[in-house]
Structures are given as structure tokens and as C-alpha cells.
């Protein structure tokens, strides 16, 4: 499979001192979805911001390596030019314009396009997300978490991008909503011919839709591969994902023991939690 976006051995430093990415390489397949997996603070968002050249506002800089899009280096490009060339980022936490209406948010997504008429694009987004259509005149800040994520994805579609970078779309959403969102992403990838790079902590869900995955730990890629191989890889299971059935069962058991101990002899409500490292969704 050919890659539309290639990140080649990039290093990123914040404040000229904090070395956060220590050589990250990854490829986003054309018309496919790649996942970038890892826990808190490993450098997923930094990688995505490096691609979109959004590091400057945070006093970060790429000190080594290259980012190539359709074979051309993106280093030093203005963020607006990167968007115009077809790479759109849905930032962590959705980042909707809270005081703008849903429709104004969508219009803002089309900002980089020069064409005048974006009505058909609005209708297309409302087709994918009918709930947004119903709330088009409402301030975005009052949408539910799931609706906000849909609006953020819809806003990306308005730019007619070739590549969408998604930073933790599952964050703070109930599992059923995550499933729904990921299903939409898969459909979009097929119907709209966009490629995606999906940064996620929620590896279990993410692996169900991606064709290729990279696992990150403290600024490095520690494991990579097509998803079916990857799920079997030992590193993944041990270092972070905790996704096999036995593993989960084992953890849940340990959790119960711990809680019992903490709650004392009378005991409290026992609720086994899955995975200790990731966020609860």
C-alpha cells in the first residue's frame, strides 16, 4: 500500500530544552487508517501538532527528521498552507468554537477553501450527522460530548481534506458512542476517500477499524505493524494495551482484591475496572 503521509524520524523539543519526540517514524496509508497508540504523555498530540506545524504557539520545534506529504516535505510550511494542501487536524478535546453556532463552526472548517458556495458541503455533513442538522443554530458549547465530537469531525469534512489527523476522538465518551464514532470514521474513509491518522489511548476500539498501528512510549515508536499481527505482539500486551481476555480478567481480579483491602472487612460496592492505565471512557 502506498503512503500519503510519511513521518520520518522526527524529533521535537519544547522550550529548547524538553526533548519530547526522540525519533518518530510512521506512515499513513492512502485511503486507509493508521493508529498511533499510547498512554498519557507519550507524545501522540505532539506528533500530530508537528505534522500540522502547530508547535510554534507552544514554543515547540522540530529539530530533526522530515514530514513528507505526497512526496513533498512539509517542514516550515504555514499551518494554513498545510490545511489548504489537504491535511486537517481534529484536535484533542474537540476544540469547537463554543460561542459560535454549530453551522458557524462548520463554516469555519471550510475557511481555507476558496470556493464560494459551501451549502452542498453543509448538507453532506448534516447527512452524515442528522443530529447536527437539528442543532445547527445552537451554540456549539451546549452540545453533548458525542455531538461535539461529531461537529468536530463534520468541521473537518468541510475542508474536503485528503488526510484527517484525529487526536483522541474517544476521549470522555461512553463506549457505545465511541463505537458509533469509529464506525462513522470507517465509513468516511471509504466513501470520502480520506486517509486518517488516529491517535488513541483506547487501543481496543481503535484497532477494530485501523489497518496499521504504531505503539508509542515516551517519545518513541516501540512497536508497529498491520493490526492483525500487532494484536498478537507481546510488547503491546505487556507494555500497555492489556487487551487479552485473560489479562483483563486478571486485572479485574486484582482490582477487586485491592478494593476489598481498601474498603475494609465490611466491604463496599465492588466494581471491577478494566485497564489501569488508560482513561475510563
Amino acid at each position: 500500500m502506498t503512503s500519503i503521509l510519511e513521518v520520518k524520524d522526527i524529533e521535537v523539543v519544547y522550550n529548547r530544552a524538553i526533548h519530547v519526540l526522540k525519533g518518530v517514524s510512521l506512515n499513513v496509508p492512502e485511503k486507509g487508517i493508521a493508529a498511533l497508540l499510547g498512554g498519557n504523555g507519550v507524545g501522540k498530540s505532539t506528533t500530530l501538532k508537528a505534522i500540522s506545524n502547530l508547535l510554534k504557539a507552544e514554543r515547540g520545534a522540530i529539530t530533526h527528521g522530515d514530514i513528507r506529504y505526497k512526496g513533498e516535505s512539509l517542514l516550515g510550511w504555514d499551518p494554513a498552507d498545510i490545511v489548504r494542501s489537504g491535511i486537517f487536524q481534529v484536535m484533542e478535546g474537540r476544540r469547537l468554537f463554543q460561542h459560535l453556532t454549530v453551522e458557524e463552526n462548520l463554516r469555519a472548517g471550510a475557511y481555507s477553501r476558496r470556493v464560494g458556495d459551501i451549502k452542498p458541503d453543509l448538507e453532506r455533513v448534516y447527512n452524515y450527522f442528522p443530529r447536527l442538522g437539528e442543532r445547527r443554530a445552537q451554540k456549539a458549547g451546549y452540545l453533548s460530548g458525542g455531538e461535539q465530537q461529531m461537529a468536530a469531525i463534520g468541521r473537518a469534512l468541510m475542508a474536503r481534506p485528503k488526510v484527517i489527523l484525529l487526536d483522541e476522538p474517544s476521549m470522555g465518551l461512553a463506549p457505545i458512542l465511541v463505537t458509533e464514532i469509529f464506525e462513522i470514521l470507517r465509513v468516511l474513509c471509504e466513501e470520502e476517500n480520506v486517509s486518517m491518522l488516529l491517535a488513541e489511548q483506547n487501543a481496543h476500539m481503535a484497532l477494530s477499524i485501523v489497518s496499521e498501528a504504531y505503539v508509542m512510549e515516551s517519545g518513541r515508536i516501540i512497536s508497529q505493524g498491520a493490526t492483525n499481527e500487532l494484536t498478537k505482539t507481546d510488547i503491546v500486551r505487556k507494555s500497555y494495551l492489556g487487551m487479552t481476555e485473560e489479562d483483563n480478567a486478571h486485572r479485574a481480579y486484582r482490582q477487586i482484591l485491592l478494593q476489598k483491602r481498601a474498603a475494609g472487612p465490611r466491604g463496599g460496592t465492588l466494581r471491577p475496572t478494566l485497564g489501569t492505565k488508560g482513561r475510563t471512557t
Binding site: S52, L54, K56, A57, E58, R59, D78, P79, A80, I82, V83, R84, F88, Q89, M91, R95, L96, F97, Q98, H99, L100, E104, R107, A108, G109, Y111, S112, K139, G141, Y142, S144, R155, A159
Partner: protein, 295 residues
Amino acid sequence: MNELIYAIELTITGLLIGSMYSLVALGFVLIFKASSVFNFAQGAMTLFAALSVVGLFPIVGFWPALALTIVAMCGVAVFAERVIFRPLIGGAPLVIFMATLGLAFMLEGSAQIIWGTQPYGLDLGIPIEPIIIGGVYISRFDLVAAGVAGLLVLLLVLFFQKTKIGLGLRAVADDHVAAQSMGIQLRRVWAVAWALAGLVALAAGMLWGARIGVHFAMSLIALKALPVLIIGGIESVPGAIVGGLIVGVAEALGEGFVGSMIGGGVQDIMAYLVALLFLLFRPYGLFGEKKIERV
């Protein structure tokens, strides 16, 4: 009955003058919304614009003077964006604030070099004799000035709501990193915000200048805007408008009723008294932007 008419007269005068306070405050709001910076140079920009108009007026005539000043204010905007914002992106807000302080000195300094320090009069040709409606005297000049201020505000609101760059401005005001992530160019938006603030400064400078003369104390007009911003909320366009009107009315009524009893001088402290009340009971201002928080 006479008391009532007097009160109505004072209120109307207050509203008219207040609209000019609104105009001055609006300049601050524009830049604060776009970049979260309190632009200390707004007063200096007002002075600079007014001086430029009165300075060029006798040489080239009124309309060319106005046009040249508009160009100059846009130049100031581009300069401010290049020299202050672009290099300081991501810097501490205090640093950027200090830079606007520097800009204020630069503007005042160059105004002094070009036009000297003497006061100028500005005659816009608006008749001074008041009109009388039902026994109430209304200054014709204040009426025209308020009309101009109102028109300008209306145009600004339309610009924000109906144009693409207006949408960009509002998006940047809401979340500038997110705005940047979708290809909205911060530089361009900032330059436009500064240019708008410059045009507002020009309007305010001309109206105030025609009313009280153009002189260096004009840059202290910023001190009038401060209570307006406290009352209205520094991020709010409607806040600047309503805040200005409140200050205007409070000053007029205070001076007219209390001032006449204790021998004047109430006008200057009224604005701050009202602002103080707001600080105590409504610290984020009338329309201060509340964070939208869902429960």
C-alpha cells in the same frame, strides 16, 4: 416638573456622550477579543489619528486628509502585527502588553515630531445650536456624534456576522489555536483587528477632537475607557456599548444633581464609582463572557 425635564435632558446628553465612550472602549474590545491583549496604545492611536486629520486638513483638504489617515492607521495595524505580535507569538501576555506600551510611546513620539505639541481645533462643520423637543434641549453636535458612533457599531456588527473574515475573527477570539488548525491565518486576522481598532480610534479621535479640541491629553482617553470596560466586560462588544452609555448617563446625572450641590467635579469620579460598584457585585462585567459549562 422642571426637575423632571432637567433629568431627561441630562439623561439624553449622557447617552449621547456615552456613545462616544462606547466607541473608545470598542477599540480595546476588538483587540482584546482577537488576541487577549489589553492594548495600551489605543489612546495613543486615537490621538495619532486625530492629529493626522487636523494636521493634514489645512494642507490637502478634509476628505483627502481622512483617506490618508485611514491608510496611516492600516499601516500602524500592519506594523503592530509584524513587530509586536508575530515575533511574540506564544510569549507571556505581560510581554505583549509591554510591547503595546512601547507602541504607545512610538506613536506619541512620532506624532510629536510630525505635528508638534500644540493643541489644534477641529471643525467638522456640525452646527452647534441645540434643537429643542418638548422643552428639552439637545445638542445637535452630540446627536450627530452619537449617530456616527451608532452607525459605526452597526457596521462592525454586520462585518462580524456576515463576512468570512468576520467569522475568522470570532473564531480566533474563541480559540485561536483551533482557528489556526483549520487554516485561519492568525496574522491576517490580527492585522484586520488592529486595522478595525485603528478606524474606531480615528472616529473617536475626530468626534472627541471636534468636541474638546485635539491635544496630547487625548491619549488619556484610555482612562475613560477603563471603567467602561469594567462595567461591560472587556470581551464584549454589546458590553462596550452599554457600558459607555451607563458611564455617560451616570456622569451627566451625577454632575447635574450632586455636582451642583457640592460645587462640581463629580463628573470625573462618577465613572470610577460605578465601575467600583460593578467590581464589587459583578466582577466579570455586564456581558463578560461566561465560559459555557454544561452540567
